[in-house]
Amino acid sequence: MRKKEKPVKTIGEKLTTLFDMPQDVVLDSPKITVISDNSLTIENYTGILEYSDLQIRIKTKEKIVSVVGTRLSICVITDSYILIEGIIELVRWE
């Protein structure tokens, strides 16, 4: 059996939870909003790793977000914001 990993919190995370501050604003943590199954926005991303109409992988500060679905397309893209439209089946942290 695999040993249970203990969640490790950084100092920044501890501070933000202590002072009740929004993590996505203070620490630039990624924020994902999914509306129904047809649109998804990611704030605070760093780059696109893979782009096809079945899967989009996006790099954020901490981990990689993988969006799986059909007919996916990036409708809006700015330096800190991505809007993905299409039929979303799965959103996964890698």
């Binding site: 696109i48 790793l49 782009y51 096809s52 109409d53 397309s73 990036i74 893209i77 330096d79």
Partner: protein, 384 residues
């Protein structure tokens, strides 16, 4: 989102195809250099289509070079490109501009005047008064001073009691309330007598002022003095008063009609002509050559169709359809019932507002006599 789309269309954008192995890198580099691209779509593994601003397109070259991609323009979209296509067609551009300006200018003027609510006052009379006050077709809509027009109309046409003026686009709507016509009132403070307006038998009288000369049951003839305004007292001497009161009398109104009466019956023969014309304000363009009509008797049916933008902006252009339908006129003798009902209708119109007790009619010696027995107030004030 909609505003952004509109802005993009106004500014103009190009739809590009990016071909290369590293299209993801291409997008990353674009965002890094704040080149706004949108509506990206992966066509196949090596191809990507996207929209880019016109101004940013030049900045794509180093990006494409760095990500080993090739950029092609598939389509140019937006207003600047659309206008560029028509740049050489100067006449088209000029006429579009002129028509736009004409439309703007023409909708500033008054083209239709609607008058509602007038019964006694004829529409022509109203139009005359309006044109005197500066409201007519072809006048600048903003120049209409409502209170001035109202003053002019109220002083010109005494039958008006209220005028409402609404300017809606190119139509001026004039709503009119008329005074109910009263008999010219005798001045309240000047002395007068009362005479009979009609002959009849006095039923009852209620005199508030003056010397009553009659009593119920008296037969009076037209013009006879009923109440005298001259009072003679033993102490006060002669006084003149303003006589007033109500005198109800039984009166008879008669109408005699010579028989037989004839009427005209018009039947269409089936032949008809139509003469249409295009009207531009006061200028007519006829769609026919001969102006005269060969028919002896005809009915003219006119229908006008006005061009308008929406409900309020009526343009000064209209098509007038004139239809001339030939008629045969035959004279037919009216039946007795028809003559009677016609005469009664006339009498009813004449004796409007008077209480009618009974109606009688007699056919005699080729004549019809209709008699109405009425109860009416026969007061008429007459000064000395």
């Amino acid at each position: 989102m909609f505003l952004i789309k509109l802005f993009n269309i106004l500014k103009g954008y190009v739809i590009i195809t990016v071909t290369g192995l590293f299209t993801e890198r291409f997008i990353n580099l674009c965002t890094r250099r704040s080149i706004s691209i949108w509506n990206t779509k992966k066509i196949n593994k090596n191809q990507l289509s996207a929209c880019v601003d016109v101004d940013d397109f030049k900045r794509l070259r180093p990006v494409a070079k760095k990500s080993y991609c090739k950029v092609h323009i598939t389509r140019k979209a937006g207003l600047p490109f659309f206008l560029y296509r028509y740049k050489k067609r100067k006449v088209l551009l000029a006429s579009a501009f002129i028509s736009f300006v004409l439309l703007l200018v023409l909708t500033r003027f008054v083209w239709v005047i609607n008058i509602t609510g007038n019964e006694i006052i004829s529409t022509d009379q109203m139009m005359e008064g309006l044109s005197k006050a500066g409201v007519k077709t072809g006048v600048f809509a903003k120049s209409i001073d409502k209170s001035y027009v109202r003053n002019i109309l109220m002083t010109d046409i005494p039958e008006l009691s209220w005028v409402g003026i609404n300017v809606k686009g190119t139509t001026v709507e004039i709503d009119v309330k008329e005074r109910t016509k009263l008999p010219p009132a005798f001045p309240k403070d000047s002395p007068c007598s009362i005479v009979a307006k009609n002959s009849g038998v006095i039923v009852r009288s209620d005199i508030t002022e003056g010397d009553e000369l009659i009593k119920p049951g008296d037969v009076v003839s037209k013009g006879q003095i009923l109440v005298s305004g001259v009072l003679e007292g033993e102490l006060s001497g002669i006084r003149y008063v303003h006589s007033d009161g109500v005198i109800i009398a039984r009166t008879w109104h008669q109408k005699t009609v010579q028989l037989p009466m004839y009427k005209e019956i018009r039947t269409p023969t089936g032949r008809e002509k139509s003469k249409n014309k295009l009207k531009i304000h006061n200028f007519d363009i006829n769609f026919y050559i001969k102006d005269s009509i060969s028919y002896e008797n005809y009915d003219k049916i006119t229908e006008e169709k006005k061009f308008s933008l929406g409900d309020n902006f009526v343009l000064p252009v209209s098509i007038q359809y004139n239809k001339y339908v030939e008629q045969t006129v035959t004279t037919v003798e009216m039946s007795k019932e028809e003559v009677l009902s016609k005469t009664i209708a006339q009498m009813d119109e004449e004796l409007k507002g008077i209480e009618v007790v009974s109606k009688k009619h007699v056919f005699e010696n080729g004549k019809l006599t209709v008699t109405y027995e009425c109860l009416e107030n026969i007061i008429e004030k007459v000064g000395f």
